[in-house]
Amino acid sequence: MARYIVRRVLLSIVTLWLLATIVFLMTWVLPSDPARLILGAQAPEQSVAAFRLRVGLDDSFFAQYFRLIKGLVTFDFGHSWKYETYEVWDYLRTPLAKTSKLAIIAMIITAPISILAGLIAAKFRDRKLDRGIVLVGLAASSIPEFVTGALLAVVFGLKLEWFEPVYSTEAEKLSLWGQLSYLMLPALALALAYFGYIARMMRAGTIRALDSDYVRTATMKGLSSTQVMSRHVLRNAAAPTITVMSVQIGYLVSGIIGVELVFNYPGFSRVLLDAAIDGDLPVLQVAVIVSALIYMVATLMADLLIAWLNPRARLELGAS
């Protein structure tokens, strides 16, 4: 197991380095003149030149590249270009925390419900209940989060008035409980998207386990269906679900951007979009890399969890 963990972590580091390189290449190749981009077309030539010198844009390709990699290693990414007094990480930290709060609430709402729904669907396979869950799951996961968010805002915010249709900074003066009225709809929009993926995977994993020879063995031993479920099915059905949950955390970083915008939530997306529009390259680079890092940590944890649950997976992953 230890060897597997080391191997897996080393591979992650290689992946991280590669993706940082990809991001750097994109920001290097695409804008013709990053300084002009951020300072605007009207800025005088001297100030553009001064800016280039200040942030090191005149340095060679490799010098700039190594600056980013060094920043990654030391977790010190320098300053924002737009708000030069801010360090990039400080600039990103607060919105990142807000976004995380939203994602965690969504996960808390959705994880138990969708796992249960997947189990129920598998158990009543091909009956009406199953078809219903599958259809809801399909719709929930295929509709973009911002669309779900908009529709939720209209129905539960404007028409039924159960929750606040848009977020307001007023909320931050309230207790977490009080904030829920503001957070509920964006969290729900995310939760619905998770629901589709998790429930579908749980259903598929459970069905595969139910169809397996070892469940047949357990049934023939005389175990009741509840015993078979809890002792033999769950553990085996968990692996694909865990994988999907971890991968979703990554995709959610994308989905959450739309939701935040719909509800005017002051999270990561605002910063990211602003940085993109302003051409604040350091912030942009770090924002993308940090999101990828979250995804990688999530999948790493999931793989370790699966390896712990299923010794055979440990073997396969270690060998590959």
Binding site: L11, V14, T15, L16, L18, L19, T21, I22, V23, M26, T27, V29, L30, P31, S32, D33, R36, L37, L135, L138, A139, S141, S142, I143, P144, E145, F146, V147, A150, L151, A153, V154, L158, K159, P165, V166, L210, D211, D213, R216, T219, V228, G250, Y251, S254, G255, I257, G258, L261, V262, L273, A276, G279, L284, A287, V288, S291, A292, Y295, M296
Partner: protein, 316 residues
């Protein structure tokens, strides 16, 4: 549960015989088509997608008003106006008929998203095939790059590339002046590694089968084995991947447009329309957001219903 549990092992010998009797009568393809047509989800999906495709093609020839210019000052003095007999879906902030715009809004999306998916499928299939077939260092290297791409959040990289390309001499030099073409390339680039991973896994499952060994023993070239021996046997997973990918592509393009970096004005694109009118929500003006949102929802659900049916039938 004992009576409802499937039992593949016990069914094996019988299902073998059954399989034989089925295939004796029909080819697998016809059988799959027959099964598809029996799935209500597939039919519903095809009908809905068909309606949107029709709207996209017919465009302003069938819309009740001109989606771009008509400002209705007779029925609606102070836009946006709520749904009425004249404007079933209401009008937007500047008095344009929302129904006309929603009907027309499918055009760009249905041009951009499926094209991107098809492009990604082609490049991804080639890449995945090479990785899975040659394995070794080629595969190791490319797999790491694919892994890295997979870790990047699609929408974020989309934002990054699409905004930075505004000031790109490079891109304008190779004539990416059309925004939609640029979106196609970006989405295709982002989806290529995902397709490559799927195709690679499928090819890995095929390449060690004896028919491939047999082809080598009669001296076939690698290109022949990849394209003529293996490819026809992995069309199932590739077709499934295409339908799934089209769904995701629509999802992604709509999201990018909503974020303001995708399809641009004056297109009546749905994502764009939601973005432009979401500020009206607190004022209880729900219609400019709701109808484009429902349009996106129906289209993606329909596409996914089709994808899901095809997947079920192929993996049967």
């Amino acid at each position: 549960m004992t009576d409802t549990t499937n039992l593949p092992a016990a069914g094996n010998e019988a299902s073998d015989v059954l399989q034989r009797s089925l295939t004796e009568r029909k080819t697998a393809r016809r059988e799959r088509w027959r099964l598809l047509r029996r799935r209500p989800g597939f039919i519903i999906g095809v009908v809905i997608v068909g309606i949107w495709v029709f709207c996209a093609i017919a465009g302003d020839r069938i819309t009740p008003y001109d989606p771009f210019t008509d400002r209705d000052s007779k029925y609606c003095a102070r836009p946006p106006c709520p749904p009425s007999g004249a404007h079933w879906f209401g009008t937007d902030q500047i008095g344009r008929d929302i129904m006309s715009r929603v009907m027309m809004g499918a055009r760009d999306l249905l041009l951009v998203a499926p094209t991107a998916a098809v492009l990604a499928l082609i490049t991804g299939s080639v890449l995945g095939m090479v990785m899975g077939y040659y394995r070794g260092w080629v595969d190791n290297l490319l797999s790491r790059v694919v892994e890295a791409f997979l870790a990047l959040p699609v929408v974020m990289v989309g934002i990054l590339v699409l905004t930075l390309s505004r000031s790109s001499d490079l891109l304008s030099a190779i004539s990416f002046d059309s925004r939609n073409v640029l979106i196609i390339y970006v989405v295709a680039l982002l989806f290529t590694p995902i397709v490559a991973r799927t195709v690679r896994a499928t090819v890995l499952g095929e390449r060690d089968l004896d028919y491939v060994v047999s082809a080598r023993l009669r001296g076939e070239s690698n290109l022949f084995i990849m394209t003529r021996e293996i490819l026809p046997n992995i069309t199932g997973p590739i077709v499934v991947e295409l339908t799934v990918r089209i769904g995701y592509s629509i999802f992604t393009v709509a999201t990018l447009s909503f974020l303001g970096v995708g399809i641009q004005r004056p297109s009546p694109d749905w994502g764009l329309a939601i973005a432009e009118s979401r500020d009206l929500l607190p004022a209880d003006q729900w219609w400019p957001v709701t109808f484009p949102a429902l349009a996106i929802a129906t289209l993606v659900v329909a596409v996914n219903l089709i994808a899901d049916s095809i997947q079920t039938v192929y993996e049967r």
